[in-house]
Symmetry: C2
Subunit: 413 residues, 2 copies
């Protein structure tokens, strides 16, 4: 059985969600647990209600909508992604996966299809990790990879506790943040966020796994001092040390592997005045690679660089690794379900390894998992310029719907 | 005639002002035109009133207190500094010069001394330049080196206009921001902010001039993008480009001159999220040297480095020079007045060139000028750890008082 979702409705629903937390330049500023996040959650809740789903919000804010199947003993097929965004991010990252899951349900309802397995759709809390770290926090807690109370106590840059914000927006739910049953499998649609599908002229991507990564931060303590009368050899310039390491972070991937990437995304300079030598600087590192050995090596190398720069500049320093995710290989059953769906729909698909982390990382720990990638124009994301054509949104959403339908039907025979 | 100021009262008054905008670690956070600046201005106003001074606040917020002399036709001797501070700055930078000027007046009042020339003491608006640029803004406007209306329209990082803030705190005064008469000369006491007096074991410094400097900023425009799936060769990382130049700014002084210094004090990274390649970064440069030729060369070199890094990283870029001050040689009359005062008081003094800019830079454009430096422990300033002993505060303040008294007396004969 092949279903076809409604492309116009998909587009309309995408545009609806994109109104919430929209930026001047057509992007999103919808940080997790913000007022905008509350608003988009309220909107999503209503959409799920309208489709007759049985809604659960768990104690970590993860939102589930359940559509029962024919056989109450079968595990549910879970489909979803996230509605939070980066600061000045795009309208597709995360949201397309949630809207596609919703469109899948709407299509089943339109066509009165009763699946063998129940279907659940999900909006995970804080996938982006820009306000509270780590990223993929909601799925991580749910999968048992993070401690609920430890994550509750995380604070944002203004010192606001995660749990307090979750309560403030009214999404600290009742159910336990853990799998409520033995799920049949997980599927997630996401934009690729890289250039490979477009470069190869493909319609859609079949995701076989996710790169591993290390995220962390170094803090340098130098001496804040006047930029004028302080002789150069007296200076302990925390920013000069940080700049030294950041240039190495730009070079390191070239020495590690063909697919290694690395960058510094965040930094904080104190006191940050043109006329004062920076006394304290924190900067992050992030490295990714399909090989866990290369991630280990990147981690060791960046700390060696940080130590060398601290010594050159006579700085005290400390570091913390904020997140380490091993690379993930998805399960063949679900990869095949995506591949078969693309074939049935006659889409030109290719297998691809994800360069970004996704909630699927954690889902893969406890159930069969795969993903569908939509083509990203110029591979751009985490920016307002992120773009995917409505045709590519539709192609990917249709692939997702049919793959999920297959999992919810065939395996039940 | 030698006067001796009251060391205990000097210390008490210094401690009083240090209460306003005080930080946990014993420093000051008293940015120009902030509530704290208003409070310290109110305090200073009351102190001047108590000494019977005739107070003027000009249209740029510069505060003057006048004590008439015997001869109404003589130009006034102007003595002062500034009460604003760096973010997390020290309690001496600026404030010691204003308090010493006030103590000079108190001493004249105590001893019923009538000077030949009038004396004016001054608190200049926004010497620090950390909230609004340029630094030394109030003295610069007053000396005719900046346009009043252009400076009124400057905005801080929150977009708040200078003039609006000046009105808000009630210090947009009535008188014109320009010299109201043909002044006899200017003297300013300031902490050295460098290590030279302490290294040589001196009691006090006789300042012969001020280094020139260039301040400016480079903005790089790259492409904000996801740190994971974006291949390294696709990236246009504005922060990697900035780091590249900042490391060069640390090296450049070594290639320019023995006394050249340079650093980056401020930077702004957008969107500043651990998982997004920085799309836009602004960072400052600052170089100082006693030679204007070397300042020219530093300016040319930093732009060449910025251009090279922009090319390496495929960034668009722009730059602005925010301030250029030629080096200043003070006038021998006033230098000698300071030197004679130190000799009369039997202090071990040395001549020294200032490595930092001061309001004296602008004053020197229109009248004979010199400065007195107090010993800075470890040369530290623009930090809460800034420290000068009460003995050194006294020594410098006493030198200032006697030098100013000489100028206000001897020249009148």
């Amino acid at each position: 059985m092949v279903v076809n979702i409604d492309q116009d409705r998909l587009e309309g629903t995408m545009k609806e969600q994109a109104q919430i937390g929209s930026t001047e330049n057509g992007g999103l500023y919808r940080l997790t647990l913000s007022d905008e996040d509350k608003e988009v959650r309220d909107w999503f809740y209503k959409q799920m209600e309208a489709e007759g789903l049985e809604i659960r919000v768990d104690e970590f804010g993860n939102m589930f909508g359940r559509r029962e199947g024919r056989n109450a003993e079968k595990g549910a097929v879970l489909v979803g992604s996230h509605l939070d965004s980066q600061p000045y991010g795009g309208i597709y990252d995360g949201a397309l996966g949630v809207v596609a899951a919703l469109e899948f349900i709407r299509t089943l309802n339109d066509e009165d299809i009763i699946t063998e397995h129940p279907i659940e759709i999900v909006n995970w809390t804080n996938e982006e990790g820009s306000r509270y770290q780590p990223a993929m926090q909601g799925s991580g807690v749910w999968a048992g990879n993070h401690d609920l109370y430890e994550e509750y106590n995380k604070t944002d840059e203004e010192g606001v506790r995660f749990e307090d914000e979750l309560e403030r927006i009214g999404y600290k739910g009742e159910t336990s943040a853990e799998p409520s049953e033995d799920y049949e499998g997980y599927l997630e649609l996401h934009i690729e966020q890289g250039p490979y599908l477009e470069e190869k002229g493909k319609d859609v991507g079949i995701v076989t796994g996710i790169v591993g990564f290390t995220w962390g931060a170094v803090t340098y303590y130098g001496e804040a001092d006047h930029t004028g009368p302080t002789p150069m050899h007296y200076r302990k310039d925390a920013l000069a040390g940080a700049a030294d390491v950041i240039t190495q972070i730009r070079r390191l991937p070239n020495m590690l592997g063909e697919r290694t990437v690395g960058s510094t995304g965040h930094m904080d300079v104190q006191p940050n005045s043109i006329n004062t030598i920076p006394g304290e600087v924190t900067f992050t590192w992030g490295f990714r690679d399909p090989s866990d050995e290369i991630i280990d090596e990147a981690f060791n190398r960046v700390l060696a660089e940080a130590e060398a720069a601290a010594e050159r500049e006579s700085l005290d320093w400390e570091w913390e690794e904020r997140m380490r995710a091993p690379s993930v290989d998805f399960d063949e059953t679900n990869i095949n379900a995506v591949e078969n769906a693309a074939e049935e729909l006659e889409y030109d698909a290719m297998r691809i390894f994800s360069g970004a982390g996704h909630d699927a990382t954690h889902a893969a720990d406890i159930m069969d998992t795969s993903m569908v990638f939509a083509v990203s124009e110029n591979g751009k994301s985490h920016t307002e310029e992120e773009f995917t054509t409505w045709d590519h949104c539709y192609t990917a959403a249709n692939t997702l719907a049919n793959a999920a339908l297959n999992l919810a039907t065939e395996n039940s025979l």
